[in-house]
């Protein structure tokens, strides 16, 4: 009988130290730890873990290669299914995906699939990269709108199939949320850019500073520009606000603005970088998803004395990845749960000086079985804050959808796409990622990009 190996912990920077710097929090496994963790995988004949992965990573196979110390081979195996393993290993909500299905997890803790994925991908990044080979050119052109995980994945897969692929990106860098949303301390921008340069090696052309819907349109791409098919992966980039009084006061940011200033424009290096941001002493972040965790932890790093998550429900309902929630708690983020703001209060200069909130309690279970929060009468109080970051979700940006006639949208403005092929109501136009599902996850967006690439290939072969 083999001695039982425990799930290997992820080495991290100390909470006290890391809460004040922008370096990566999780440091990654070293070889010995990775080998120990890999040894916990049973190499199932019918690996349930794979069912939990939207891109069906060959999980037992890559872990086997790690066991054999063939780390480059492991990376290659990963890349057969996943173009951005260094990203996914870091940001996938593994606990609800691959690891939730792992058989080892039924009795104890599941195999650290994400951590192993990150290990192999980082090994590859450090030791020269594996560029998959592209097939012979098909002579057909595909345009991709948006260089987020959905668009980049679709682009890479089509390039591998021999299509000539051009990606149009509105911002000045490719990467989507991976660049402007998720902070450096969780996903180093260098990792993202190296992954993107690997895509370029496949021949994918990325045109930044191109706002589709303004500088060009889907119609034009498919008309005079001669693209045979188009994939729309424009994400969920439209910030929602609470629609409570005081939201336009100075010191109220959307999470997108706050994080974009810090991540994309490197405001945390101000004044070495030119874009400023302002964080007060006491910051309230509204919401409890990954975006909210990122904003609250960024606020601490930018110098806030206190960073407070304000959330209407309880800890169990928080949608953030477990690891982010735990990291935020360790770093000293203050959680005000079952609490909801009703008004943001400003001083005589229109700058935030407080937030009126109500306390909630959990009421009867609703139709979904979740106990819904109900306000406690008379519980009103003023929270002493000088900055408020609204992180309650994002919707679809209408720039592309509004300028594309014949594209069916749902009530919220998301594109309606066939769940099997990601084809839209407009022939030759496919869509996937957050623009279809609403704000979701990196790996779901990548899964959509992948499936759409297959469907586009099939469509163009029959055309």
């Amino acid at each position: 009988m083999l001695e039982k190996v425990a799930r290997q912990a992820m080495p991290c920077q100390e909470p006290g130290e890391r809460a004040r710097n922008f370096s990566e929090v999780a440091l990654g496994y070293d070889e010995e730890t990775a080998l120990l963790e890999a040894s916990r995988c049973l190499q199932c004949k019918k690996p349930l873990c794979r069912q939990g992965c939207p891109v069906e990573v060959l999980i037992p196979d890559f872990i086997q290669l790690i066991k054999e110390r063939d780390f480059m081979g492991a990376a290659r195996k990963l890349k057969e299914k996943n173009n951005l393993p260094a990203v996914c290993g870091r940001v996938c909500p593994q606990e609800s995906q691959c690891e939730s299905k792992c058989i080892v997890g039924k009795k104890g803790e599941p195999v650290g699939i994400g951590r192993l994925e990150r290990f192999a991908a980082d090994y590859e990044l450090a030791h020269g990269s594996v560029t998959p080979e592209a097939a012979a050119p098909t002579g057909k052109k595909v345009g991709i709108i948006g260089a987020g995980p959905a668009g980049l994945t679709c682009a890479a897969d089509l390039a591998k199939l021999g299509y000539s692929v051009t990606v149009f990106e509105a911002l000045h860098v490719a990467g989507g949320v991976l660049m402007y949303g998720i902070p450096e301390f969780r996903l180093p921008k260098q990792v993202v850019q190296t992954e993107i340069s690997n895509l370029k090696k496949l021949g994918v052309e990325i045109k930044t500073n191109m706002v589709v819907g303004k500088a060009t349109s889907v119609e034009e791409l498919m008309g005079k520009d001669g693209f045979d098919a188009v994939f729309i992966g424009t994400g969920a980039g439209l910030p929602y606000f609470m629609n409570i009084p005081g939201e336009n006061l100075l010191g109220v940011y959307s999470a997108n603005e706050f994080l974009t200033r810090s991540n994309l424009m490197k405001a945390y290096q101000f004044p070495e970088a030119d874009t400023p941001t302002k964080v007060g002493k006491r910051v309230a972040v509204l919401g409890a998803g990954n975006v909210a965790m990122d904003a609250s932890r960024t606020a601490l790093r930018l110098g806030a004395e206190e960073s407070i998550i304000v959330y209407r429900r309880s800890r169990e309902e928080m949608p953030a990845r477990h690891e982010e929630l735990e990291h935020a708690e360790e770093e000293g983020v203050n959680f005000q749960l079952l609490t909801n703001p009703v008004e943001i209060i400003g001083d005589e200069n229109g700058v935030v000086k407080g937030m009126k909130c109500l306390r909630y309690e959990l009421g009867e279970p609703d139709a979904s079985g979740r106990r819904s929060p109900v306000p406690i009468p008379g519980s009103e109080f003023i929270m002493d804050v000088d900055t408020v970051v609204v992180a309650i979700g994002q919707g679809p940006n209408p720039l592309v959808t509004k300028t594309t006639p014949g594209l069916e949208l749902n009530r919220k403005g998301n594109i309606v796409a066939d769940p099997e092929t990601f084809a839209t109501s407009k022939p030759g136009v496919f869509a996937g990622g957050d623009i279809v599902t609403g704000a979701a996850t990196v790996i779901l967006a990548m899964g959509a990009g992948k499936t759409a690439a297959k469907a586009i290939d099939a469509y163009l072969k029959n055309k």
Partner: protein, 271 residues
């Protein structure tokens, strides 16, 4: 052009192919620079160029004004925002405050081409700050100049000149555009409000992405929150909350001073 204001013609074929009066671009001068919005002053579809006019007000605009011929921008994205709605309204007044003459120029030109009688006004603090008079003259049936100190044209604010136009035309102006500093736009809006003349203003809040992603540019119009970069930049001046807009514009003042200090001292001191 005049002190602290430069006119740049930039090669940007993709933008030039589409730009219309009222739209803007977002530029970054270099790798570390801020993204800043600038209005399209002119576009040449054949040459594939865009003309912009930049006033040195702080760090990023100063960096741009120090660019030499042949230098390039790190990033130049556009055209952004909604174009001006050009129709034949009849007699229109185009009121520009200082640098506002640059964004006003293509609007006045398009209005004239659409058959309007265009009366233009350029107002500024003094005569050195008046730009583009020849260009504006060419696209207007009449051009008035006003300066706060009386060093050129009518002594007084742009609103004073507008009052004069109204008088001369027997009160018949069908539509007004006002582009310039917030205080100037507000004074025009307050002037036309009781007269019930529809007045469009071009809002210039702080922007980051310019595509509706961040919400930094939000302003309040008729009690509703709008994103100036995608819903504007032109709005009905009678509905805009100027107090809010002015406060939001000043929010990063101290930080901007720090950036400016670095520019002047070379940055070695780390101040």
């Amino acid at each position: 052009m005049t002190k602290g204001i430069v006119l740049l013609e930039v090669e940007a074929p993709a933008v030039a192919a589409k730009a219309l009066a009222g739209q803007f671009v977002i530029v970054r001068a270099n790798e570390k620079a801020e993204r800043i919005p600038l209005t399209v002053m002119d576009f040449n579809r054949e040459k594939g160029t865009i003309t912009i006019v930049v006033q040195e007000v702080g760090y990023s605009s100063t960096i741009i004004n120090r660019l030499q011929e042949g230098d390039s921008f790190q990033d130049f994205v556009g055209p952004l925002g909604l174009p001006t709605e050009i129709e034949n309204y009849g007699r229109v007044a185009c009121v520009a405050g200082g640098l506002g003459a640059a964004p006003m120029y293509p609007i006045a030109r398009a209005l004239k081409e659409a058959g309007n009688e265009v009366v233009s006004i350029i107002g500024a603090r003094n005569k050195d700050l008046i730009i583009l008079t020849e260009e504006m003259e060419a696209v207007s049936s009449k051009l008035l100049i006003s300066t706060d100190d009386g060093s050129a044209g009518i002594k007084g604010f742009a609103a004073t000149a507008l009052a004069q136009v109204l008088e001369e035309t027997g009160g018949k102006i069908d539509h007004v555009w006002a582009i310039g500093p917030m205080v100037m736009m507000r004074s025009i809006v307050e002037f036309t409000r009781p007269l019930g003349i529809k007045t469009l203003v071009s809002m210039n809040p702080i922007m980051v992405d310019g595509t509706g992603m961040c919400g930094a540019c939000r302003i309040s119009v008729g009690g509703e929150t709008k994103f100036a970069c995608v819903d504007g930049p032109e709005f009905d001046g009678h509905l805009v909350d100027f107090d809010l807009a002015m406060r939001r514009l000043a929010y990063f003042k101290n930080e901007e001073k720090r950036a400016m200090a670095r520019l002047d001292c070379g940055g070695g001191c780390g101040c």
